[in-house]
């Protein structure tokens, strides 16, 4: 049984600090270790799991392969705002089941959905909606933006604000986007933009760097008493910052769409962030479990 283990908040805070501190060395490693992608095969797809239901307690999420009774993936203790790193899985159909966090694996799971993983494709399976109507939604991820461009989409996961409007620079990414819904990708030019999320009674803004060739998912979340925006870096050689996923080379293992070139870019980014990154990341309410980028509140 392989497992995806999500860290506790305290461990995440520590890990975020360590990650930022280690960014330089990881980047340097990447320059000489492009073979990180050797752990996946051309028959694999990728999946990440997210908990985006504000009033739902933590759960353990299980994936059961249709074709292999021994194959089981587990993501443990998934709390609101948690997004796992991508996990490579053999292509095929999977049943997704949930148990209360910490419940024994032999206890009765509740089936939630099925997901068909295609080779070379990536998916986010997200717990969406209120606790009373919790559903696991399969969201296909696009990992290859047009050359020189950036793909950005928005997931509205704030229950406090029924709908939000999200802008990035002068562009509208989402207008009155309802709770538990997701936009399609917008193609944008690279750059550093101010992203603003505005609900009925609250708003927040963040500065986000969009590098060419990357794919971002901006998640609007409830932070106690206010909104927050998490920037998930989905594809094109992004770095799995933390998360403890068994990916062979820890955080440096291949992600969907990974190639040598982006790893070089990441190494340079690691150098750039090595100094200030510690402070920026450790301020975050939900430090990186996924390839979250440092977001600075303004």
């Amino acid at each position: 049984m392989s497992g995806i283990h999500v860290m506790t908040r305290g461990a995440r805070m520590m890990s975020a600090v360590l990650t930022a501190a280690a960014a330089t060395s990881i980047g340097l490693l990447a320059l000489t270790a492009p073979a990180a992608s050797a752990s996946t095969s051309s028959q694999d797809g990728w999946i990440q799991l997210a908990h985006l239901s504000p009033n739902t307690p933590a759960v353990d999420v299980y994936l059961y392969s249709f074709g292999d009774s021994k194959a089981q993936q587990v993501i443990q203790h998934v709390t609101y705002g948690t997004v796992s790193a991508f996990e490579a899985l053999p292509a095929g159909d999977y049943t997704v089941a949930m148990r209360a966090a910490g419940a024994p694996s032999s206890s009765k799971p509740v089936l939630s959905t099925a997901v068909d993983i295609l080779a070379g494709h990536a998916y986010t399976v997200a717990g969406m909606g209120p606790a009373s109507g919790l559903r696991l939604q399969v969201i296909p991820d696009t990992l290859t933006p047009p050359a020189g461009k950036v793909l950005v989409r928005v997931i509205q996961a704030s229950l406090q604000q029924d709908s939000v409007t999200v802008t990035a620079g002068g562009s509208h990414l989402a207008t009155n986007l309802k709770f538990a819904s997701v936009t399609s990708y917008h193609t944008m030019n690279p750059g550093t933009l101010t992203v603003r999320a505005t609900g009925g009674s609250e708003s927040t803004s963040s500065t986000i760097a969009l590098a060419a060739g990357t794919t971002h998912t901006l998640v609007v979340l409830d932070d106690p008493g206010k909104l927050s925006i998490d920037d998930l870096l989905d594809g094109a050689g992004s770095v799995a910052a933390t998360g403890g996923v068994q990916t062979g080379l820890g955080g440096t293992a291949a992600r969907p769409g990974a190639s040598v070139r982006p790893w070089v870019a990441v190494s340079l980014a690691g150098l750039a962030f090595a100094g200030g990154g510690v402070v920026l990341v450790s301020r975050r309410r939900r430090p990186a479990l996924h390839a979250r980028r440092q977001v600075t509140s303004v």
Binding site: Y64, S65, F66, G67, D68, S69, K70, Q72, G92, D93, Y94, T95, A97, S106, K108, P109, V110, L111, T113, A114, V115, D116, L118, H121, Y123, V138, P140
Partner: protein, 279 residues
Amino acid sequence: MVSGLVIALVAAIGTAIYLAEASPSVRLDGRTQSASAPGAVRAAAASRKSAASWIAAQVGHSVIVACDPAMCAALQQAGFPAADVSTIGASSADPMGSGIVVSTMAVRDQLGSRLTSVYAPIVLASFGKGQDLVQVLATAPDGAAAYRAAEQSDVQLRQAAGRQLLRNHNIRASGSAAAALAAGQVDSRLLITLAALAHGYQVGVLWFSDAGPAASPEVPLRAMAIRSANSRYLRSVLSFLHAQQAPYLALTYITRSGSSTIVHVQFTAPSPPGLLTKT
């Protein structure tokens, strides 16, 4: 004296019942059709009763069923919730908004050929024949063409999933069950449930069934029978099945065949499409 009154009362009730059953059939626009023979009326009533019993037992009680007044009354008599019944009247333009429409002569008169060519192309079950024919039809919210396209896609996804399950070492399928899995005939809810069950247990699938009498060939099989190895296995499997929530909560019951115990798992109609959506 008293016995005479009783006889008179019984005779009066009998006459009333006979007159009610033998009365001319009434169209939804209020006009009467030619009087039917008592035998034909009884046959129509029998078809209605069979259809009502089948719907009450097989159709999910959250599904809205559209029907003519007589059929709706029969449905409620069979125990189908009144709140989930929608009467098709003379002014009803179509049965859209319901999940099921019961095709009786009155409804066919009202909606014409559009009933099956546009609104509800799939036969889930059929009772009687000729003028007495009562068909339980699944409505197509986006029209018949879209429904058939979605159904075709669903069959392919069920085939792919079924063939993967046949490779699962914890699943032992009989010849007929294996053929149904490979052909994509098995309801998605059963496939998804089987995958989870097979993670923890050896599952011996004896057969798949329950497409409904005279159902369209593309209607998925919503029931399966699995062999129970022992009482501990039985308790464990039933516990798993009973823990599920909609749309994966199935009706379960147990039968014995010689020394074997068989667990029957059955989902309600209609089969929801899209549970195995290709992403």
